[in-house]
């Protein structure tokens, strides 16, 4: 469904992503692993259109249509929604307003209400925080709200950028369960994680990026056994 073909992304003259190819099929749960600055977030942002793929150097296809070069809102309208890094909410808007903005693309009010209910059953904690401002939430709640906002748009592909960053182990576990549940509902997921163990436990297929280049790919069960991965990312 989502296909990156040999993409290059440059910041000024420095390549952040080099010749990267990856494929995500419908219903897949894919994780992208790598150290700080390996180009994971850049890859996600390239899919969303926030950073541009270098002209003539690679293409991104979604459902057979070329999407690199399109504006971010257009890509979002096609069904690719990112849950950005650092639990970004609108801090001065209430949780409810944040969620409504997430459903910005949903013109059908009835559908939006249904979505809201669906999302709130998935995140029962948010129910009594609906009228609290985004900045009054704790870190974990903010992350939940950000994911809930992403789900409000009924995305086909959900991109997670480091959702577990800065969360306590207990919350991380809770988050993992929720992401797993979302995946079981049939949403295609691309998860970018520094916490390699979490990513590999959740996903079914993994890509390892180093210095912007694809180093390794395979089923997560195989990656977990791989000696290099063990040494570099799992600390075994």
């Amino acid at each position: 469904m989502l296909e990156l073909k040999n993409i290059w992304v440059y910041y000024d003259k420095n390549p952040a992503v080099r010749d990267l190819s990856l494929t995500v099929n419908k219903g897949d749960f894919v994780t992208i692993l790598g150290a700080n600055g390996a180009g994971k977030s850049t890859t996600l942002n390239a899919i969303c259109g926030v950073v541009k793929v270098k002209k003539g150097k690679g293409e991104i296809f979604f459902k057979g249509k070329k999407i690199n070069g399109l504006r971010p809102p257009k890509i979002a309208a096609m069904g690719i929604i990112q849950v950005p890094e650092g639990r970004k909410l609108w801090p001065l808007l209430t949780v409810q307003e944040n969620l409504k903005l997430g459903a910005y693309l949903q013109k059908d009010r009835q559908k939006m209400k249904q979505n809201m209910e669906k999302v709130l059953t998935l995140f029962p904690d948010l129910k009594d925080k609906l009228h609290a401002k985004g900045r009054m939430l704790s870190g974990g709640q903010q992350q939940m709200a950000a994911i809930a906002r992403g789900l409000m748009a009924d995305p086909e592909v959900l991109l997670f950028d480091e959702p577990s960053l800065g969360l306590s182990p207990l919350l991380r576990q809770h988050l993992a369960e929720i992401i797993k549940e979302i995946s079981q509902h049939g949403t295609t997921i691309v998860l970018v994680e520094q916490n390699a163990r979490l990513g590999l436990m959740l996903a079914s297929y993994g890509y390892v990026i180093e210095n912007g280049e694809l180093k390794l790919q395979g089923k997560t069960s195989d990656l977990l056994k791989d000696e290099n991965v063990k040494k570099a990312y799992l600390g075994v």
């Binding site: 969303c48 926030v50 504006r71 971010p72 809102p73 979002a76 309208a77 929604i81 990112q82 950005p84 970004k88 609108w90 801090p91 001065l92 808007l93 307003e97 409504k100 903005l101 997430g102 910005y104 693309l105 900045r135 009054m136 939430l137 704790s138 870190g139 974990g140 709640q141 906002r149 748009a153 969360l167 306590s168 919350l171």
Partner: protein, 341 residues
């Protein structure tokens, strides 16, 4: 029957706020002094312009050329009446339309750059309008300006509303204009559109991730502001019965800016209204003192005071909210980090 619960904490401040508004509406009953009424009428013009500025600021853009749209509206209406022989009402309407169209065209080019560059370009746009008005002698009469006529009398049966006889018709015309503008802006503020404006000012990239086109909403805000500012400008020209290139320049744009910021841009209607009326009325009375430039000092002083004592984009209108929180003994909005982490 359903018993409607009255929330006094909402109702009482509204009733108190309604008192000065009611007084304003009924002033002509007590006094028909041309002097007093003119000051209030003119402050109404600035109220509308300041609301327009606040709307553009809501999308995160800082327009420094709002007076140019007043000039465009004023000149459009003046040219249509004086040069083309139109009557007042259609040309007044066209003034808003023309100003809106120009805002749409300028906005869809200039808003692409956004932020500080947008401010610089709108600043120079204001100057361009002034220079054009001065040099297009054939259309605008250059520095001498145009003298637009007052509106034709409206005949309602045996009763006639005559704009030449007194300023009271102008007064109610202005009240109507401010009321319509407030209604439109208030509706926008509480609708989905208002939320979208706010969201893209607060975080552009996040807004784009949700599928919001930045340009579309920036242009909408700029155009709506342009339309109403154009109406305000046309009213200004016809009320003063003159429009010259120097009446609406950079200083006026800065005044508009200061008025809405001092009033408070957290609300699209009440803040600019309070700021504009307060500063305009004060500055008119102050400028009668035999001290040169004292009204300019007022504007500068007001900005400094607001920036020092009411930072983070709050203005006088937020003092009002704070006052009522004190009265009802409601807790201040403290941020308590929860302890589940």
């Amino acid at each position: 029957m359903m018993i409607k619960y009255i929330d006094w904490k909402v109702t009482i401040p509204r009733i108190v706020a309604a008192v000065p508004i009611a007084i304003l509406v009924f002033i002509p009953v007590f006094s028909t002094s041309r002097d007093t009424l003119s000051i209030i009428i003119l402050s109404g013009v600035w109220v509308i312009a300041a609301m327009g500025f606040a709307m553009i600021l809501r999308t995160g853009q800082f327009s420094m050329g709002q007076a140019a749209f007043m000039a465009i509206g004023g000149y459009a209406s003046a040219i249509l009446t004086v040069k083309m022989g139109w009557s007042f009402w259609p040309s007044f309407f066209m003034a808003g339309v023309i100003s809106g169209i120009i805002a749409l065209i300028i906005g869809s080019v200039v808003l692409r750059v956004g932020n500080i560059y947008f401010s610089i370009i709108t600043l120079s746009f204001g100057e361009i309008v002034r220079i054009l008005a001065q040099n297009l002698e054939g259309i605008t009469h250059g520095a001498r300006g145009l003298i637009p006529p007052s509106p034709e009398p409206i005949v309602l049966g045996s009763f006639e509303i005559n704009f030449d006889a007194s300023v009271v018709p102008y007064y109610y015309f202005m009240i109507l204009l401010v009321a319509i503008t407030s209604l439109v802006f208030w509706q926008i503020n509480r609708s989905r559109l208002g939320g979208t404006f706010f969201s893209l000012a607060a975080n552009q990239i996040l807004a784009e991730h949700q599928g919001i086109y930045l340009m579309k909403y920036r242009v909408i805000a700029f155009t709506v502001a342009g339309i109403f500012t154009g109406f305000a400008g046309a009213f200004y020209a016809h009320f003063l019965e003159i429009i010259t290139p120097y009446m609406l320049g950079l200083w006026e744009s800065i005044q508009i800016m200061i008025m809405s910021i001092v009033g408070g841009v957290s609300s699209l209607v009440a803040g600019p209204l309070v700021g504009a009326v307060l500063l305009k009325v004060l500055s008119v009375y102050l400028s009668r003192l035999p001290v040169y430039g004292i009204h300019a000092l007022l504007f500068g002083g007001a900005v400094v005071l607001v920036l020092v004592f009411l930072p983070k984009g709050t203005g006088l209108i937020d003092l009002w909210k704070k006052f009522w929180r004190k009265v009802f003994n409601e807790p201040e909005w403290y941020e308590i980090p929860s302890i589940d982490e």
